[in-house]
Symmetry: C2
Subunit: 225 residues, 2 copies
DNA sequence: CGCCCTATTGAGGGAGATCAACTCGGGTGG
DNA sequence: CCACCCGAGTTGATCTCCCTCAATAGGGCG
């Protein structure tokens, strides 16, 4: 169902030279690190794998997800340009991460960040902020998955993406319908049908399948409750 | 639908004397604080309210949840004896919290914890651990809400409760079917039907509606995938 | 142009929701 | 002590939203 490729971890050939100044994880906070490139659907890290790094999207987009033994998949989150992912407790990752589209990712050693956090409150607070922002998003998403209808889920998704991506004149979705469906707890068919329904209502326009223009945000906001 | 009562915040009459030694939030880590009692369904804190405290369940049980404007409710989590809740980023709570049953709760000022975290890595790490344990649980729960069937959800719930509560010879559920339903993204009817189905299969026994004996954990574990 | 992958559309079925009746148990008051 | 009541839980009948299966349409790239 989903392309499974060999894991290419840190140290593999796709490592590129790190910027000499290090990785700026957030304005004013730099860490030594390096960048890597990943092709579409390539694995960045796997569930239960050692969590030695934290990651920041430089270009492209990333999905984190979990799978059940029978293949059912739940996308936990999408990570767009500038966003940090892979921040976890302890030793190992609890999600897998894959490139949604070709992308470039900056890596910083967890040990480096941990040491900085112990010495510098700025770094500690930054990490704390990352984790709790994630928590907040996950709580919103639980509401969506547990209690919202298909239209409401799709509306919430469109609004979320439009807030997180610079959307001058319409969204450019990096992810497939299958990714969206697994994020929203729906099937690709339902996602597709719901989008065309919203298009018929003139709430959105879909010039091409990955490009969506929000024509009536008021309706979407209403659906978002 | 749910009993809405006036909020009784810190400083209200139900405050009882704090233990002179302070609140032991985790073995070896004490903070000055005090305890309060809440009756069944009483509000402990409300969504968007100032998050001045963190809370620990001394006795009874607590639910945290969110509601949509039309009353649909999603229970984000249950908090049993010994567990800490209300740890959030920044200023305000993102969930409401209510007493599932009569309970006693210990409160510690956030400012106290923050100060301790800045000076002592033990406290900082403890907070970090709390937050990321929550995150982990929420990710599991997203999988449940997004992709699991009713039986799988109920099985997962029973196993979760049996792991978190001392369950010598059966669970004693503090929460109603309605709470369970809103936690699992189902209706009370479906929860009830699923439980009786599991009872007919001899997977569980239900001596009384709040008491459940796990007779065949293997089946439940299989359903938990 | 033809291939392949992604997306859309249609027809039909099913898991769970909804609506409604009934049962159970615990508390209260006569 | 029993009758009554009320909330919680169970069970039944029906409906519906979304899933499943299947066919068709687009669109990027060789």
């Amino acid at each position: 169902m989903h392309t499974q490729q060999a894991h290419i971890g840190p140290g593999a050939i796709s490592v590129s030279a790190s910027a000499p100044s290090g990785i700026e994880v957030t304005p004013g906070l730099n860490f030594p690190g390096f960048t890597m490139r990943f092709g579409r659907n390539e694995e960045i890290f796997g569930q239960a794998e050692e969590a030695d790094f934290i990651y920041k999207v430089v270009s492209g987009a990333v999905r984190t997800f979990r799978v059940l033994s029978d293949g059912r998949r739940q996308v936990v989150g999408f990570h767009l340009v500038g966003e940090v992912f892979g921040v976890e407790r302890g030793e190992s990752h609890r999600c897998s991460a894959e490139a949604v589209a070709d992308c470039e990712v900056a890596l910083v050693r967890r040990s480096v960040v941990n040491k900085a956090s112990d010495q510098d409150h700025t770094a500690a607070r930054w990490m704390w902020g990352l984790l709790s922002a994630d928590l907040e998003r996950l709580q919103d998403h639980m509401m969506l998955l547990g209690r919202k209808t298909a239209v409401e889920r799709v509306a919430a998704f469109l609004l979320e993406m439009s807030h997180r991506a610079p959307c001058a004149g319409g969204l450019d979705l990096p992810m497939s319908r299958s990714d969206i469906a697994d994020y929203l707890g729906l099937t690709i068919e339902t996602v597709s049908r719901t989008l065309t329904q919203l298009e018929r209502d003139r709430t959105i326009a879909i010039p091409s399948s990955r490009r969506i223009v929000l024509q009536n945000r008021a309706v979407l906001n209403d659906l978002d409750s």
